[in-house]
Symmetry: C2
Subunit: 223 residues, 2 copies
């Protein structure tokens, strides 16, 4: 198997990240690519979810993945081995990606015809929420073992995201996780947030999430 490409990101010299993010969003829109920014705590199952989505997409989307990490190339290698074009982005200790760093990744990935590019952001509920990456869709994963109180403790993440994926629902019987409490709290912060329940491990709920994503991506690229 081909070694995955590893890119050391350079820190942005641009002053206005929001303007830059808007420019990147428009560039990607004009070429028919929807960028999804995937955020979560460390270990919530971002890569496992992407692998499960790949099976459920079942060839309906041309897509690629940018795996951001402080170190290691494990995730990009895993995605590539599953047949998804991938690059590994190293942030050199940085706790988030901004739009300029995201653009460096998009260039390195080089999939001009991609309908969807997923940025797997650094595992962190704080800093990534503060930086617009140029994504059309912001998604966060909350895994059941982390607890139902995360929307109360990391409000900006939930305000920023269009989609909330609750992962590891196969472990609901063994953790104290009150779905109603979590939903109430997330919707207080963001009434429009769409919530999906999945187990990336068992596959439960993944098809519905994949179908919703395919629909969103095709819509975004068509308008």
């Amino acid at each position: 198997m081909e070694q995955v490409k590893i890119i050391a990101l350079k820190e942005s010299v641009l002053e206005d990240n929001e303007q830059d993010a808007q420019a990147l969003r428009e560039e990607l829109k004009s070429r028919g690519t929807c960028l999804l920014n995937l955020m979560s705590s460390p270990g919530s199952g971002k890569t496992t979810t992407l692998l499960a989505l790949n099976r459920a997409f079942n060839g309906r989307l041309r897509w690629g993945v940018m795996e951001a990490d402080i170190d290691s190339a494990v995730d990009a290698q895993t995605m590539q081995e599953a047949g998804v074009p991938s690059v590994q982005l190293h942030t050199g200790g940085m706790c988030h990606l901004d739009a300029d760093m995201t653009r460096q990744g998009v260039r390195a990935l080089g999939m001009e015809d991609a309908e969807l590019i997923v940025l797997e952001n650094i595992g962190n509920l704080v800093c990534p929420a503060e930086f617009d990456t140029g994504a059309a869709i912001n998604m966060t994963i909350l895994s059941v073992p982390e607890g139902d109180d995360k929307p109360a403790k990391y409000p900006l993440m939930y305000e920023t995201c269009d989609m909330l994926v609750v992962n590891k629902i196969d472990t609901l019987p063994i953790f104290d996780f009150d779905k109603a409490r979590m939903e109430r709290c997330a919707r207080e912060r963001n009434p429009a947030i769409e919530i999906f329940y999945i187990s990336a491990k068992t596959g439960e709920g993944v098809q519905a999430l994949a179908d919703a994503l395919v629909r969103k991506v095709k819509e975004w690229n068509a308008t």
Copy 2:
């Protein structure tokens, strides 16, 4: 039950955090207080571990807790209800605490005779590892559901910490978590790291951790 004190931390104006951290460490040492900086991902069980430790300390330490959070006062209230003097520190969106913010918390807690003060840092494996808070002991919690690959992905956290607590070991049978792989990887980064396995929920392993901490705190304060 008395309402817990909530402190809005001010951003530090000091240039040299390392110097400031060293000064705070010496101040605390001269009054016989050991500061422990507790770090982890969101939802690893920091507060639940502190509650379990409180039971296992069984009155052997005069101790207090500073609960840092972006929002909410849930954790400090929980600790106070368990009889542990606590303050809630709000960082106003900041992803970590530096030594000056820690000093503001120590003053607000006001326990001049504390043998141990625990700073429960923001749930984040990246930024808190970069800032010396003035702590004598740095501890990180890794919960089993997060996976055994965290030391490879967040190396600085493991390099920085003296103690690693692996929590939620009651869930080992249902997650793919290779203890040997995790230990090898953590010790590659930090050969001296002390590793403890606990379940804060069932209490397994907590007594050994509490005993080790009592010993460390008494030793640090005595020398």
